[in-house]
């Protein structure tokens, strides 16, 4: 007890007890608001049918069961496109899109921060302004561009646009600018190293938090993206689409759709749990300097 005292005193300079209580109270109240719906989603997915249709409804499950998940997999195995095809599509699109984005964006970010070519400031400004509008605005024109390229109903329409994802590039560029010292690059250049070698061998290992963040963001984007308007063929549709079909199935499948919601939720949350510290580190340099 006596040992702890000085530590508490140091931590709480400029801090009042009342303020500490207030802050923790706010965190608990809003934390409950954020967390309880997620808990309810999990609780719903574990409820047997009679509990789902019980009056008055209970918040928490009483006799948890995995029946809903079994039902979900049964429903999905009944679809005429084999279920493994949806999983393959999601995996293929996510991996190809994410790695293409990672390589192209980090290479461009390296060139833009560490090679002094004229026009790079203007190029970056344009990326910055593009953070100010979302894809709703460009969806229709993108459809026209896709059909002009002949990419409608192909994997290309899902993979290639992911390469040009803006936020990932922005975060990578900011991170390189603040964390990679020019002096290291100068000495490598004096030794005669090529720019591509410097980028790949020296800079990329230094920006691990940023590329992990890029991977997570790109993966989340591709995982959460709903049905694409570019894809008609059932064989090219993704796992997400198959699950949404179950979700759209209505009341009779309410158990299965509760299970589907939980599966859609668990994957990105798990990815974030593993990478949280790296993402926060990347975000530390996200600020816009003017």
């Amino acid at each position: 007890m006596m040992m702890k005292l000085p530590k508490i005193k140091r931590r709480s300079f400029n801090r009042s007890v009342g303020g500490d209580i207030g802050i923790n109270l706010m965190l608990i109240i809003f934390g409950a608001f954020m967390f309880l719906p997620m808990i309810y989603a999990v609780s719903q997915s574990l409820k047997p049918l009679d509990e789902l249709w019980m009056f008055p409804p209970r918040f928490f499950v009483m006799n948890p069961t995995l029946k809903n998940f079994k039902e979900l997999f049964r429903l999905m195995s009944e679809s005429w496109v084999p279920f493994s095809r949806y999983i393959f599509n999601t995996a293929f699109v996510s991996v190809a899109g994410t790695f293409g984005h990672l390589f192209l964006a980090s290479m461009a970010a390296y060139a833009m921060t560490k090679i002094n070519f004229p026009g790079r400031k203007g190029m970056f400004q344009l990326v910055y302004y593009s953070l100010m509008f979302n894809s709703t605005v460009t969806a229709l024109s993108n459809f026209i561009i896709m059909s002009a390229l002949g990419w409608i109903d192909t994997y290309w329409s899902l993979i290639v646009p992911a390469f040009g994802y803006t936020l990932g590039f922005y975060l990578m560029r900011q991170f390189m600018e603040t964390t990679v010292p020019d002096s290291v690059l100068e000495s490598a250049r004096l030794d005669g190293a090529k720019e591509l070698t410097i980028y790949w061998k020296i800079v990329m290992p230094m920006v691990k938090p940023a590329w992990l963040t890029l991977i997570v963001y790109s993966f989340q984007g591709l995982w959460n993206s709903g049905t694409s308007i570019y894809i008609y063929s059932e064989q090219l549709k993704t796992f997400n689409y198959a699950i949404q079909q179950v979700l759209a199935g209505g009341i009779t499948r309410s158990g299965a759709s509760a299970a589907a919601t939980v599966i859609m939720m668990i994957v990105p949350v798990a990815v974030f749990v593993v990478t949280q510290s790296n993402i926060i580190e990347t975000m530390a340099s996200s600020g816009m300097k003017d």
Binding site: G19, P37, I144, Q220, M264, Q276, G287
Partner: protein, 318 residues
């Protein structure tokens, strides 16, 4: 002339002050041309799918086009029709602005406030609380759980509980009742809104140099509010700019949530936003020219509000 330039360059590198601006730029371009090759692959894709579409849509907004026949140039007819003849559009603009002003600034302030609170916790608890606040924004369509909570029959948890307590006698049709739709959608949108800007603020608080606080305390900063205002926020200004852009852009993108919760179109168009109007004309009626005019106006509103807020924020602390 050129011969002379070459000889001097060989003798000693020409200094920047000896060259015209053009000569210098050209030289720099040649020396650093590898930079263009490295930027090009990303930049071409970015231009093609992000910048070019803006101009395509600007051009198409001046035409009549149905995706099959060649576009017919009609000048600003689409805009005139939108602003003067389309009552639903004006309703959509109003709803969009209500939605954006209710979600954008509130989500921004909530992100900042909770990032600040969370920063006071010990690292392990901080990681858990961060996850709890951030999770709804990345969990796909988990917001549909609100539809289950507020389900329109007596088996929905809210209706069931209110009925059990005797507050209401029959279930309320939450997502069909014009009195509740907007409020509920805003609440759900806020629930999913602690995303990138929130993480950026959390990181911002963590990198503030701790010695600044000690120095400030010597200078007479007495409580955590003063500490936040005089020490932390000025250091975090860049993060706050970035967070604002993320929050504003996001606040115009909640249409998907509205559609998922209330269906499309919503009852009496009471939650009809510009995005819904755009989808209606673009993907359902294939009036591409008209839809492009809607997209262009939405684009102008987004960029305009971002630049305005950017300008306001850059004045903070000056």
């Amino acid at each position: 002339m050129s011969e002379k330039a070459v000889t001097t360059q060989q003798a000693a590198p020409k200094l920047r002050k000896d060259m015209t601006k053009w000569e210098w730029t050209l030289r720099e371009m040649k020396v650093n041309k590898v930079g263009y090759f490295m930027v090009a692959p990303y930049y071409i894709v970015f231009m093609l799918f992000t910048i070019v579409p803006v101009f395509v849509s600007l051009f198409l907004s001046l035409t009549q086009f149905n995706m099959l026949e060649t576009p017919v140039f009609v000048g600003v007819d689409n805009y005139i029709r939108l602003l003067l003849d389309d009552d639903v559009f004006l309703l959509a603009v109003e709803n969009t602005l209500i939605f954006a002003t209710m979600t954008g600034p509130v989500s921004y302030l909530l992100s900042l406030m909770f990032a600040w609170f969370i920063n006071e916790l010990t690292p392990k608890i901080r990681a858990v609380v961060t996850l709890i606040f951030y999770a709804p924004s990345i969990s796909g369509q988990v917001y549909l759980i609100w539809q289950t909570l507020f389900s329109s029959d007596q088996y929905g948890w809210v209706n069931g509980t209110l009925m059990k307590l005797g507050i209401i006698n029959s279930p309320i049709l939450w997502f069909q009742d014009t009195d509740y739709i907007m409020t509920l959608c805003i609440v759900v949108a806020l629930w999913t809104s602690l995303g990138t800007s929130f993480l950026s603020f959390i990181a911002g608080f963590q990198v503030v140099d701790k010695s600044l606080y000690e120095a400030a305390s010597v200078d007479g900063v007495k409580n955590r509010w003063q500490e936040l205002w005089y020490v932390t926020l000025p250091v975090m200004k860049n993060q706050m700019m970035f967070g604002a852009i993320m929050a504003i852009t996001q606040s115009f993108g909640f249409g998907t949530i509205v559609t998922a919760l209330c269906g499309f179109p919503s009852v009496d168009y009471c939650a009809h936003t510009i995005m819904h109007h755009l989808e209606d004309y673009g993907n359902q009626r294939w009036e591409v020219g008209y839809a492009s005019a809607i997209a262009t106006i939405l684009f102008a509103i987004m960029i305009g509000s971002n630049l305005l807020v950017n300008k306001l924020l850059s004045k903070v602390g000056k």
